[in-house]
Symmetry: C2
């Protein structure tokens, strides 16, 4: 993409009330624009990151045979009355009346609706295990929305739902999702831990949170350094017994914090629940088991806040100059900086990289001076800043700077692909 | 995808109140499920079609440098009060109050919000022309929702917005979008015409509708057979003067219908508007022109109902046995039918086709009998029904039946790719 033809509204001056670094950078780097309290437009560069996160989730869900569908934003209040959450959910539930006075709501989660969807189909033990997921906009009417996409009212969420014949089968599925979520966060390549959690209003007794470590995170986490290494090296066998703890849990259990425990702040980005028959019972979802008896499926639900994760990644990966996108979800992999006297050479380089890796390069071909262009490139945080060398058209030498480390490389164009493969 | 591991809830018995064929087939073929009046879940097979339509639109928008962003579902009422549409839009506008009593709405269209987004950035003639689009869920609170996705309350829409320095530049952009929409519908490969339309509540004086021809369409259309051929053969030069007419227009103008006019029913699937400065004026979007004077950008808006188009395609392309998906947007290209005595050979064939064309094959590996499997395959309408021949493991002969024509072919596996390329 040529920046001169793109829509990237970078912001120099932002409100002093914007305190969180992810909120600051997401506005300054032209990723989002607030339209009203807690409601944002995702701008083109931000959309590319959000789509990359969504596609990473999609791929991992495919790997565990969790099938994608798409449920609507608006739900009927009746289902929520049946599950007794319509009033219990509290004021964060955005209630809506249609022109006929019929009560509806903008879904903050979809346990009721997924049961409504499979009811009539999931009537035999032969249809299970079944897992379905979608990636859709949700709404939680936060009393005081703040921190940008970290706590927006309208937010994009991946949520999955599983159906099993009994508690034992549910726990097998639950571990499969836990491993899948570990895989997703491992691919993003930022440190995270898992915390045993309370199920809250979803119900049930088995629940875990996935916490991305970040200096200014909302939660304080204690974790065994060994466990942390274990999780982040993808050794997911038996990890169900290896978890981090919040400061609240440490306080309650009056546990002593040993020297082997590391302490960090963190941000919740995923949450999984095994709640059994709570919703299948209240919404009358029954199946015939292999003895011909009517039973209720055992359910779990699993969620990652996609737009929230985008912001959490910025919290976890930035410096004073801007964002440092992990390669797996960066909006573009390469950012070419052209200079006034080498625009043609830079465009030649742009075409060359495009022919090697399609649609992974943003070229700053605007009239800004070179200093400003480096400032912009640091701010938007593409993994590799690329320049055509002085006599590029003859020498085909490319200059590459790694955004994360500042390391510089000079390589011949013919070695570009091989070199980049080695780097990543 | 193996059907035994998929979620495809086909329906045998549907309500007698469901009259439209697209509504019937979309429920029977497991594409959608109604959750409440006018609100649907898009099931996995339907989602694949919807994504194919969206991606076709995305690609064509990229070709005309129209950049994708993503605006939220919920909008602030203030913007609509400024444009004087908050009350004028009528009861189809779903109004919502948040927990603080603040008035919001579920967007049925985004003219106001796109202006809010570019305000502060689009302040110079140098930033134009600019075109932005998104694909997002919209809501229109229809008094009597019916006909499934053809007239749903919550629906997926692609809508684009353009900004130009004056009327002349706007008309150039307008023609560019008209050509792009012709390209999209041409790719879908079903007959369509263009009708000059009233701009209605959007405002402005230049507006056209894109109508897919379908036996049970809502509109009656008269068109010159020659013009029709012209459009559908992608000769888009000067087509701005070559349009079809509705029966209403014919009546009003007391025009005689000549023998060269063909008559058909049709369904509106796209709509384009050039409305000038209506929204830039009311929402105070100003730019400095090249003489340093403050002016209002000239705007257009362009939309295709993605979920509606899915249903319209079924209306335009089906027979008494089921849907006939055009190849460009079919959920899968190939449907393999396995028999009890050749499941292994069929799975071998499945793996072979998958290795040639990734993720384009659905295999019916369920325990249903062969007759039922053909009925299901006809219903879901994949372009090619594929069977492993009697001694496939030795002979590698594949049997192919075209869904649209019923034509049958027997070919050797080694010639499969070449043969399929010739067919499409």
């Amino acid at each position: 993409m040529r920046l001169s033809q793109y829509y990237l509204p970078l912001q120099k001056n932002i409100s002093a009330e914007i305190k969180r670094v992810s909120h600051q950078y997401s506005i300054r780097a032209g990723l989002v624009k607030q339209n009203t309290s807690g409601i944002y437009t995702v701008l083109p560069l931000g959309l590319r990151v959000m789509n990359n996160i969504s596609n990473l989730i999609r791929k991992t869900m495919e790997d565990i045979s969790c099938i994608e569908l798409l449920m609507p934003c608006i739900q009927d209040s009746k289902l929520w009355e049946q599950s007794e959450r319509y009033d219990a959910y509290g004021k964060e539930l955005l209630k809506i009346k249609d022109r006929h006075g019929h009560e509806m709501l903008f879904g903050p989660t979809n346990e009721e609706l997924i049961v409504d969807n499979v009811n009539g189909y999931l009537n035999s033990y032969k249809n299970m295990p079944l897992s379905l997921h979608h990636i859709q906009w949700k709404f939680r009417d936060e009393i005081r929305p703040r921190f940008g996409l970290l706590r927006a009212r309208e937010f994009l969420m991946h949520d999955a739902y599983s159906f099993d014949i009994d508690q034992e089968a549910l726990e097998v599925t639950y571990k499969k999702f836990m491993s899948a979520y570990i895989e997703i966060l491992t691919q993003i390549d930022l440190p995270f831990v898992i915390v045993k959690a309370n199920a809250g209003e979803i119900g049930g007794n088995l629940s875990h949170e996935f916490i991305l470590l970040a200096k200014d995170g909302e939660n304080t986490i204690y974790y065994d350094r060994k466990i942390f290494d274990y999780i982040n090296n993808k050794n997911t066998d038996k990890i169900i017994n290896c978890f981090a703890k919040t400061d609240e849990m440490i306080e309650q259990s009056k546990e002593l914090v040993s020297d082997e425990m590391a302490r960090s702040q963190g941000i919740e980005v995923g949450h999984i629940f095994a709640f059994g028959t709570k919703y299948s019972q209240s919404l009358k979802l029954k199946y015939l088991d292999n003895n011909g008896r009517l039973s209720y499926p055992y359910m779990g639900s699993y969620g990652i806040g996609v737009s929230r994760l985008l912001a959490a990644i910025i919290e976890a990966s930035h410096d004073e100059d801007g964002i440092i996108w992990p390669k797996s979800i960066a909006p573009y992999k390469y950012g070419i900086i052209s200079q006034k006297n080498n625009l043609d050479a830079s465009l030649e380089l742009y075409n060359t990289i495009n022919s090697l890796e399609k649609d992974q390069t943003l070229i700053d071909d605007t009239g800004d001076n070179i200093g400003m262009k480096f400032v912009k490139m640091d701010l938007i945080g593409l993994p590799y800043q690329v320049l055509a060398s002085k006599n590029y058209s003859e020498t085909k030498i490319i200059e590459i700077k790694e955004r994360a480390t500042g390391k510089k490389h000079e390589i011949h164009q013919n070695n570009f692909s091989e070199f980049m493969n080695k780097l990543s």
